[in-house]
């Protein structure tokens, strides 16, 4: 009887000591989302034998518009990608043609990485698509984190559930696991090198891993991040792809 009382009491205590999950998610969204952003980044794709580094500059406004230009290596240089709502176009300088990516091609990996075009396109706020609950605490690389379990509250979501580890002070996710409806773990993301940029905490290094696939994953390093800038409207037009 005493034991049961103690267990119930400790469970209640734990639930009272944990903050509200939606509040945490809201803070995460505030750090991770912005009106618009300009990133210069390096994507390191680890293959079976070698690794490739692709540098790019990307402009994004909200979660509807995004424009990326690949800067190196020479083979990818000049390749541009435009996303408007649910549509995606790619311009390849070698063929001088614009191709629309849709249907199952959106599920293909981007430049052989562990990211699909769809992964890059789906950047809605977590609070909009998931119901969250805090399930515990854990320390990652010396940082205290809240463990949040997210379950989709809308139907059109890529991952039915997620588990994220959020830094208790900076409210930045340090680890993210995406699950299938069956509960099968599909993808893992590790976020690190958290820096303060224009008053917000932001992870400058992310490692994406498709756990169903062999390989060491894809590393995404942000070399320059600017938020809430003035981005000319023409950037988000098909005409910009051929410029």
């Amino acid at each position: 009887m005493k034991k049961i009382f103690l267990m119930v009491a400790s469970a209640l205590l734990l639930s009272f000591s944990l903050p509200d999950a939606n509040m945490i998610l809201d803070k995460v969204d505030k750090n991770m989302s912005s009106k618009n952003r300009i990133f210069e980044s390096e994507m390191i794709i680890h293959g079976r034998r070698t690794s490739r580094t692709i540098t790019s500059i990307s402009y994004s406004a909200g979660n509807k518009q995004s424009f990326t230009e690949y800067l190196s290596p020479p083979r990818e240089q000049g390749t541009k990608m435009l996303k408007l709502d649910n549509q995606l176009w790619i311009y390849s300088p070698s063929t001088d043609r614009i191709i629309q990516i849709s249907g199952h091609m959106l599920r293909q990996s981007v430049m052989g990485s562990d990211l699909s075009y769809e992964d890059m396109m789906d950047d809605r706020k977590l609070t909009e698509i998931y119901s969250a609950k805090v399930t515990g605490n854990e320390t990652i690389d010396g940082r205290n984190t809240y463990i949040l379990e997210l379950v989709a509250k809308v139907e059109d979501v890529a991952y039915h559930s997620q588990k994220i580890w959020v830094d208790t002070e900076r409210f930045v996710p340090l680890r993210q696991e995406m699950f299938a409806k069956s509960g099968q773990l599909l993808k893992q993301t590790t976020l690190s090198d958290v820096k303060q940029v224009q008053g917000r905490w932001f992870p400058m290094r992310m490692v994406y891993k498709d756990v169903l696939k062999e390989g060491s994953g894809t590393e995404f390093r942000i070399t320059s991040a600017k938020f809430d800038q003035v981005i000319p409207e023409y950037i988000f037009s098909k005409a910009a792809l051929k410029q």
């Binding site: 849709s102 249907g103 979501v157 890529a158 299938a180 169903l212 696939k213």
Partner: protein, 388 residues
């Protein structure tokens, strides 16, 4: 009749020259028959296999569906009406649900097509009954090609990932219940067959299908919201391949025939040149020029009759042997063309007759062309053997 008698007498008299011409022409005749017989045999086999394994006696498609456009798969699904369900029970219709997925054999990524089929269907030759096993495991059947590319065997487990109708990822392991051998690559390559109800549940598309395959007992009924595609349409790809192959083959056949015909032409020119006195004698004896031209034309054309007979002497045993042993096509099986491991040539009566007519007519034409010169000859000069 006299022309025929003279023609054969002269041909036999020419000895080796005649037999060389006849041999070359008979070779062309046999090769034309062999190649076309092989193509026809392949055509019959691939059509039969495609009907048995893939198309049935026709299919019903939704207007959104296009087999050449993978983008259409996502939206092409519709509930099965009571009328359709009654036909499914009668086993005259086989519903198929199609979905795209990714398989992860040995940690590799491979794009696959999931096809949901009724384990009790008998419309297609597919051994779907292997999917009937109950339990917690989701069983799948795959073709030999798919098994080889994904390095899978019976009893192996395979992780697949797909997106349901809302676009939400799901993943689970399936177990290979059976591996079938099929000569139609579209049925095999990159295809995984699951129970229809299992795939419907996985996709969140209960009681829905992408297409309906009609069996022989279905008749000519129409189904609301579904478009019927007959076998002519469904097999049009095979027809195009066969036409292309026949076109390519006809170039080689044509070249071979031309070589044989040039030899006959050459012989005719030489005959007319060397036998001017004979021509003059015929005319002096009262034959008209046209009759003499006829004798020489028949003589040339008789090469083709002898070639047909000679071709039959060695061609019939050769074709009978091929009909029993077949022609190995293992290398071609790696392509996307429906072709069996061994092709059995098919020689139809029409093929044989058309080939004989082709050889006889072309030999007659090339025999006639040099013989026309006779009509311009002066009989007196011809009798003297003067060059004209």
């Amino acid at each position: 009749m006299l022309a025929f008698k003279l023609a054969f007498k002269n041909l036999m008299g020419a000895g080796l020259r005649t037999w060389l011409n006849v041999s070359v022409l008979s070779l062309a005749f046999v090769i034309i028959l062999f190649y076309n017989g092989m193509i026809d045999g392949w055509n019959r086999q691939s059509r039969r296999d495609t009907i048995e394994w893939e198309t049935g006696k026709g299919q019903f498609w939704l207007p959104e569906y296009d087999r050449y456009d993978a983008y259409t798969i996502k939206d092409a699904h519709s509930p099965l009406s009571e009328e359709i369900q009654a036909e499914v029970k009668k086993k005259t219709l086989a519903p198929v649900l199609i979905a795209q997925a990714t398989a992860f054999p040995q940690g590799r990524m491979q794009g696959v097509i999931l096809r949901g089929v009724d384990p009790e269907q008998t419309v297609l030759k597919l051994p779907a009954s292997a999917l009937a096993a109950s339990g917690d495991t989701d069983y799948a059947i795959i073709g030999k090609r798919m098994a080889e590319t994904a390095k899978l065997g019976v009893g192996d487990r395979l992780l697949i990932r797909w997106r349901d109708k809302n676009g939400t990822f799901d993943a689970r392991e399936i177990q290979i219940a059976s591996i079938f051998k099929c000569d139609v690559p579209m049925v095999d390559k990159g295809q995984i067959y699951l129970r229809l109800d299992v795939l419907q549940k996985m996709m969140g598309m209960e009681n829905e299908a992408t297409l309906l395959v009609a069996g022989s007992g279905f008749g000519n009924k129409t189904l609301q919201n579904w478009e019927f595609k007959d076998t002519g349409f469904l097999l049009s790809d095979i027809d195009k391949i066969i036409q292309t192959k026949k076109g390519g083959g006809s170039i080689i056949e044509g070249l071979l025939l031309i070589i044989a015909l040039i030899a006959i032409f050459d012989t005719q020119v030489l005959s007319i040149f060397r036998r001017q006195k004979e021509i003059g004698t015929y005319i002096a004896l009262g034959m008209t020029r046209t009759e003499v031209v006829g004798i020489f034309t028949v003589e040339g054309a008789a090469h083709s009759i002898l070639a047909t007979l000679l071709g039959a002497v060695y061609g019939i045993p050769f074709f009978l042997l091929l009909g029993n042993v077949g022609i190995s096509m293992k290398a071609a099986q790696m392509t996307d063309i429906p072709i069996s491991e061994t092709i059995y040539p098919y020689y139809s009566l029409s093929l044989i007759l058309v080939t004989i007519i082709l050889v006889v007519i072309s030999a007659t034409i090339v025999s006639y062309l040099p013989a026309r010169r006779i009509s311009k000859m002066k009989p007196t000069d011809a009798l003297k053997g003067k060059l004209q």
